[in-house]
Amino acid sequence: MKFRDTPIQRKVMMVMLLTSGAVLLLMGTAFFAYEFLTFRQTLVRQLSTLGEIIATNSTAALAFDDREGATEILAALQAEGHIVGVSLYDREGQLFAHYPVALPSQAFPGVPEQEGYRFEHGHLAGFQPVMQGGRRLGTLYLKSDMGAMYERFRLYGRIAALVLGLSFLSAYLLSRALRQQIVRPVLALAETARAVSERRDYSVRAEKLSENELGQLTDAFNHMLTQIDAQNQALREGAARLRAVLNAAHNAVMVIDAGGTITDWNDRAETIFGWRRTDAIGRELAETIIPPHYREAHRRGLKHFLATGEGPVLNQLIEMSALRRDGTEFPVELSISPLKTGDEVTFCGFITDITERKQAERALKRYAAELKRSNEELEQFAYVASHDLQEPLRKVINFTQLLARRYEGQLDEKADTFVAYIVDGATRMQGLINDLLTLSRVGTRGKAFAPTDLETVLNVALANLRVALEETGAEVTREALPTLMADGSQLAQLFQNLIGNAIKFRSDVPPGVHVGAECREGAWRFSVRDNGIGLAPEFAERIFVLFQRLHSQAEYPGTGIGLAICKKIVERHGGRIWVASQPGEGATFYFTIPVDGGPQS
């Protein structure tokens, strides 16, 4: 069991025992260290004293060259159990005598070394001089083992062990008596805490047994219980409100944890998927609403996000299909948002059933395709029809003109008038067919857009109109024109039609036409302004409709197709055309062309 998890009763006791043990150990160590140091000094002193006595006693033996006598003196040291060797050197440094005699002389230093005692290799050894009456007679060598020190330390060790044991015993007894004082209120508090957490009854209060820190702890604990109670109430209310909001949502809302398990499920989700909230929670989302062919991708994506934090499908609307409880698959639009609360990641999913929308979209697409096809067929029909009509019509005109020329004056006057009517009608019909052909060509025979200089385009249009301009004495002014992505020949047609109209619907004064251009909000706006008869605002829309004319053929000849062609050209370039005018005040035609060229239809 870890010390952390040890019951507090034992912990208090262990702390006391460890503390007293540590103190005793520390003191013991200090004592030993002190003893070790002082006892070494004592040993040196004792050994040098002993050496002094031996040296004093061996002077005569050295002086009178009595090795036997010297050996006897040295042998006296056998009473000192710790002396392992002693030797005597004469004035010349020759080994004079040694003890134990049984040891070979090689066992002793060959010559005296520096005086003084040293600890080496577990022994204390050293040299000291042998003096008599102030004269040096030789040198004494003494070597002692450390047995004395070890003996003393063994004794100290036994005493220390005994003291340690007794201290532990008394600490143990003391702590048994004292721990009740500390531990009992703590245990009472712990008991209350357990009761609270087991029964989840936050109305219980702990009994206060003292006025010290433990009493304060009890007060704090009780205060905490009160707060928890209040917070729980607030949490319950908040959760209920949140649930009501979720259930009121039009979307299915669900929450899954990092493992992909459903943890929340609103009312709408019940309706859409057919899973009761109680059944859905705890199930894996993949197994519940994700069709089998998406499941692996879902699990992989989840893992990938948890590992890297990357989720390409997160936080955006995506369309996919989902599974109902009855196994049917249906289209949904969903967004998944990761929610980070603390270290935990959960995901919130919002799902809309888009079955109806999908159906409507499909119907719309079908209708649009149908419309496009019939439109194309119609244009093709108009083109083919008008193109094929030209040939027989040309024949009618040619032969009628031939008839009029050859037989003029041979028929009666009436017949000449009839022929003239036929030629006139046929010529008008040819104009009509040409205009219709032009109109249908805008959609079917248009060229691909290319960079087009509108100055050139305008020049082409003015060249085509040269005769009419000269006849009427019209004056055309212009602003600088840009280069755009466009179909040049169609824009020339556009300018030609608009300027042609300006000349045709002139007033009594010579016509003045101004062509302007300005760029605003990503589109060029062009204007063609005249000083002609103008028109009432209520006709501003009608004039762009095919065959709609404001004047009789007799007043202003025309087919009623020109502005329809203009409208079609501008629309093909992605722009818009309109007119601003008052009767008698001239008219200004505006059209726009997007800078980027617009759609190529």
Binding site: N57, R67, G69, A75, A76
Partner: protein, 199 residues
Amino acid sequence: MATVREAAYRWSTWRWRGVSKVGLVLSALLLVGALDGYGQAAAPPEYQVKAVFLFNFTQFVAWPPSAFPDGQAPLVLGVLGDDPFGGFLDEAVRGEVVNSHPMVVERYRQVEDIEACHILFISASEAGRLERIFALLKGRNILTVGDSARFARQGGMVQFVTERNKIRLHINVEAAEAAALMISSKLLRLAEIVTPETD
């Protein structure tokens, strides 16, 4: 304390005395040989050792204060009779000062010549006159040393005895005490104590 220890040493020496006889003899021979190196050819090597011993007595014998007229008075080492030392003795004491007493060597032909003297070596040439010499020196603080046979028993204080090439000391303690000389117990322990003959 010291006496207890000495007693202990004395007691213990008995057990070791016989053990190292051979070693002692060998080292004595070596020592004699070594001294021979710087000795003079005129005297036998043993007198070289005896000369040093004579000087060494100054370290282990205490004279009464009355033996010196003053603190700087010389300590006299005398030789009575034929000098067997050659130059060894002069060599041994040259420049030596013992307790502020400079040492000097003096030689006497006859006992009457002796004035201030502290250590007297009585040569073997005087062996026949020992009784008279001791009688004349009685009461004077002179350490008498000799190497003639039975020198100590006849009343001499220290006798050099050569045993198996080793010079040993025989000491007549009574004679020394009679001359008020204190011989160190350390010296006594090495020596054989003899008592004078009682005729």
